[in-house]
C-alpha cells in the first residue's frame, strides 16, 4: 500500500478508541481519534479521511447528529466520506434511522473486531 488509508475514530471511551486504533493500525490503516462529534467536524474541515467510525453515544454532539452534519457539508468530497456507526444501541435506533442519518453501515457493541476490520476494508477499497 503506497499510502495508508486514513481512519477517523470518534469514540468517547479511550479503551475502545485505543483498541480500534491498534487493531486498525495492525491492518495498515492510519488512525486519528477524537472524543466527540464536535471534534469530528473540526478535524475533517482541515484534513482528509477515507472513513469515519462514529460512536453514537458521545457527549457534546452525538453520533447521529454528527453524521447528519457531515453529510450536509458543503464540500461534496467530504460530505460523502463513508461512515460507520458504533452503537450499543441504547436508544433502539432502527437500521433505517442510521441510514437516514447518513451512515453506510453499523456495528453493534460488544464490538466484533473481525467485522469491524472487514467493514472498514470494504468501505475504503
Amino acid at each position: 500500500m503506497a499510502t495508508h488509508k486514513r481512519v477517523l475514530i470518534a469514540e468517547d471511551s479511550s479503551v475502545i478508541q485505543n483498541l480500534a486504533k491498534k487493531i486498525l493500525e495492525f491492518q495498515n490503516f492510519e488512525i486519528t481519534s477524537v472524543k466527540n462529534g464536535e471534534q469530528v467536524l473540526q478535524i475533517i474541515d482541515k484534513e482528509d479521511f477515507d472513513i469515519i467510525l462514529l460512536d453514537i453515544n458521545m457527549p457534546l454532539m452525538d453520533g447521529m447528529e454528527c453524521a447528519r452534519r457531515v453529510r450536509a457539508l458543503p464540500d461534496p468530497e467530504k460530505a460523502k466520506i463513508p461512515m460507520i456507526a458504533i452503537t450499543g444501541n441504547a436508544r433502539n435506533y432502527s437500521p433505517e434511522e442510521f441510514k437516514a442519518a447518513g451512515f453506510n453501515d453499523m456495528l453493534i457493541k460488544p464490538l466484533n473486531f473481525d467485522a469491524l476490520v472487514a467493514l472498514v476494508k470494504g468501505l475504503t477499497e
Partner: protein, 994 residues
Amino acid sequence: MTPATTPDKSTPVPVERTPSVGGLPLNSASSDLQDLIRNTSDLIQLIDLDGRFLYVNRAWKDATGYRSAQLNAMTIREVIHPEFLDETMAKFERIKNGERIPDFDTVFRRLDGRRVYVSGSVNCRFDEAGQPVAFRCIFHDTTARSRAEKAQNLFYQIASSTLTSRSLDDLYSLIHRELSQVIDTKNFFIALYDSSKSYLYFPYYVDEYFKGNLRFTKRRLGNGLTEFTIAANRPLMLVEEDIRRLAADKQIYLYGQIPKVLLCAPLRIGDRITGIIGVKSYERTNKYDIRDLELLEFISGQVAQAIARKQAEAELGKQTARLHAIFESSSHLMWTVNRRQQLTSFNQNYFNLIRLNLDQVPQVNISTEQLGWQLMGLTNRKIVEEKYRLAFRGVSQYFEIQLNTRSGELWYEMYLNPILLTDGTIDEVAGIARDISPLKKSAQDLLKAKEEAERSLKVKERFLANMSHEIRTPMNGVIGMVDLLSDTPLQLEQREYVQTIKKSSETLLYILNDILDLSKIEAGKMQLHEAPLSLRELFDKLISLFGQTAHAKQNDLRYRFGEGLPQYVIADETRLLQILSNLTSNALKFTENGSVTLTANTIWMKGKWHKIRVEVRDTGIGIAPEGLTQLFGAFNQLDNSSKKSFGGTGLGLAISKELTQLMKGEMGVESVIGRGSVFWFTVELKETTISPMTQQQIEAEQFVVKDFFKDVHPCVLLVDDNAVNRKVASEILLKAGCRVDTADSGRKAIEAVRARRAERGAGSEKKTRSQSSLPTPHTYDLILMDIQMPDMDGVETTRELRRLFGAELPPVVAMTAYSMREDRDRFLSQGLNDYIAKPIRAQALILKVKEWMDAQPSQDVLRQYELKSNQPSPTKAEPTSPVFDREVIDQLCGLGGVEMVVSVFEDFEQEATQQLADAQMAYLRGDFPAVESNLHTLKGNAGTLGIERLHQAVKSVEARTKVGDFSTFEREIPDVVQEFATFREQYKEFLEGL
C-alpha cells in the same frame, strides 16, 4: 600468277658484295654508301620475281636469323610467315603491275620460328624493255610497335570484355581469342583459387595433350607445376630444363607431358592473388620470349578484374534471381513505392488484388492513390498516409488494416519498410501485406468460445449454488428431525438406525459442502476464518478420525513433527483439517497392511510466519505417471466415490489444492507405482502464543435440548412458508421450553405480531404483573424469519414489521439456506438483527434464542428479576459464565497481539474505575442520564473486551436503566462492583497465561 610460282633454280644466288644482276651501281658506289647499307638498322632486301634473294643486308640477317649460305637455297616465300604469305604475295603482284603501295606490311618467320613484323616500301625494278626484273624492299622492324599496339588492343578488349561477354565462360574464351592475336595460345589456361584458398580449379583449360579440355574439376592444392607457379607469386618463364630440375629437386611433382616452355602470371586484385593465367608450348623452348611474359603480366591485372567483375555479376544475377523468386512465389503482396507515391515494382499477388478488385492493371509509375488506396475508407487512407510518411523517415511500420474487397471486408497485416541505400538515403519504401482475415476470424471465434465457456461456467456455478440450496432445504427437515428423534427414548436398535440416518445425512452435507466449496473457490468467494489452533491437537484429531479406518485395513497411521514447528498457529482449522483429511483418507484408501505417515516441518520462518510443509506418505499401490497430472482436476475421481469412506466427491484434491493456495502454499504429489505415494502441501501460517479453546466442543457434546429454558420460557414467532421447516424448528423450540407461534407467510407474521400486541396491550394478566415503570412490552421475545418466501420475503416482511411496530419489534433473526457467510452482513444491513443458517441444528437454534434472550431481557426475564428481588435474602446470581470470554480475547490477540490486549485491559481498568464511580455519583445526584451513559459504555466495553461476567452484570443493570428504571440499581450495582474487582484480580494472570 605470282612471281614466286616459277622459281628458277639456276639463277645464281646473290651474296653480299656481289655485284647485282640489275647493274645496281654497287660496284661504283662509294665505300661510304656500302657502309651505310650494311650498317643501317633497316632491313634491306633485293629479290627477283621468283623470290630468290639477290641481296640482303646485315640488319635483315640479324632480324631473321638466316645466314647467307642458307638464303642461297631459299626464296622469300619461305621467309614470309605462312599466315601472311598469300596476302603478301598478292601485294608483290600488284606492285609488279605498277601499283604503288605506300605502307607495305608483312610478317617474316625467323629461323627460330618467331615472328618479325616489318613495314616499309617495296618497288619494282624494270629493264630497258620495261619488264619487271626485281623487287627492292626496304623494311623496318615493327615487331615491338606492333606488339605494343596489340597489347593495347588486347588490354582494351579484355577491359571491355565484361560488357561484351554474356557469361564467365564467354569471358574466358574471349580472353583466349584475344590473346591468341598476340602470342601463341595453343595451350592456354586460367586457374583460380577457391575462396577458401585451399582449392584450385581451372575454369578454362586448353591443352594439346589434354583433350578432355575445359573445366577441370577443382582439386585440392597439391605440389603440381601450377601450384609452384602460384607460390612463386610473380611472372615466371620456365623451360623444359627448369621444370625437370624442379622435379629432380622434388619441388614439384610432374604429371603429363612436360612443355618446352611455360609462361604464367598471377592474377592480382590489389595484393590479393585470385589465380593464375598461363600459356605453354610443347613445340620449342624459344616459342616465347621475355616480352611475351611481360605482355602476359601486363594483361593479367585486367583479366583478374574482368573475372572478378564477371563473377560478381554472376553472383548478383543469382542473388537477383533468388530475390525475384521470393518476390513472386510468396503468398504475400509486395510492392515498392517512391517518394512521389508511385509504384516502382510489384509482384503477382499485388497485381491480382488490384486487377480483381479495381479492374485496373497496376503499372510502374502509377500513383498508389489510384490503386491500393481505392480499397480503403477515408480514415484508413489517412492512417496509411501517415505510416508511409514515417516509413520514408526511416521507421519501419507494422499495422493491420481493413480493405474493402469484392469478397468482403478483409483484414490485412501490412509492413512498410524503408529501403536504405548504401549512402543512407531512402528513395523507396517496400510494402508487404497479407490477408489475415482467417487468422482474425479464428481469434474472434476463440474469444467467443472463451466467453461462452466462461458464461457456462457461471451458469454452472449458479446451478451448483441453487442446487445446494434446494438440497439444503429438505436436508433441514431430515437432520432436524433426526436430532429430535435421537432425543426421544429409543430402543437400542432404533438408536442405531437413527445414528445411521444421522451419519448418512451428515455425509450428504459433506458432499454438499464440497460442491459449495468448489463453487465458492471458483467464484473467488472462499474466505478463511482464522483462529488460534494447536497443531498437535489438530493432528490428534485427524488421527482419531481415521484411526478406525486405518486399523480396519491393518495400516499404521501416525504423525511426526519436525523441530521448530510452532505449537499454536492462526489458521482456519476447518479448512486445514479438510486438507489433511482428504490426503489421509486417500492414502488409507489405497494402502493395505502398510503405513501412512504424516510429517510436518517448518521450511522457513519470517518473524512469526512459518512456511510449513506437510507430507502424507503411504506405502500403497502408487499412481502411474500419466495419472499424476489429472489428479488435482475437479470431478476426476467421481467414479471412485463409492469406495470412499469420508466425504468423498472426487472434488477433494481439487478443493484441497485450492485451499492450500488460499493459505499461500501449494500442493503436489510424488509417486512410484507399487511403492506408494507422497502427497505434500505447504501453507504459510502465523505463529501465536494463544492457546485455543476446546471447552466449547466439550460443552456442545453434552448439550441437552430438553427443557433448556427451565425458568424462562421465551415467546418465539416462527415464520416459514415450508411446513417441514416449521415443524422441525417449532418442535425443537417447544422441546427446549419455548412458547411458539407460527406463521406461514409474511402477512400472517404481521397479523400475528399485531394480534399479540393487542392481546398484551389489552390483556390484564401481564399488565398486572408488570410494574408501571416498565416500557411498552415487546410483542414477542424473538422472531425467527425465513428469508425465502413467496409473495413477501423475509427481508420485506421485516421492513414492514419495523415500519408498523418500530421499537416494539423484538429482534428478528433470519433463517436461511444461503450458506455464504458473507450473506450475513447483507441481512444485517437489511434490517434483520441476526442470522442462523439452515439446516437448523437444535443446539444452534436454541443457543441463538438464548443469546437474544440474554441480550434483550424480555418481559419474562424482567419478571424473574422481580421475583428474585422479592426473595428475602437476595444473593448474587449464580456465576454461570467464565470471567473472561476466551474466544473474544483470542480474536483480539489474533488481530493485534497479546501486548496490545494487555495494554487495552490496563486502559479499561482505569476507565472502568472512573465510569463506575461516575455512575454511582450520578445516581446519588439524581443525574439518571449520566448513570445510563456510563453504564452503557461500560457494558459495551466489557463485552468488546470479552470480560464476560462483568459484561453480564452491567448488562443486567443497564437493561433497566436504559428504559428509565432505576429501582433495582442500588441492589444490583454491588454485583457489578464485585465482578469488576474479580476482573482486576484476575486479568493480569489470565493474560500472562496466553
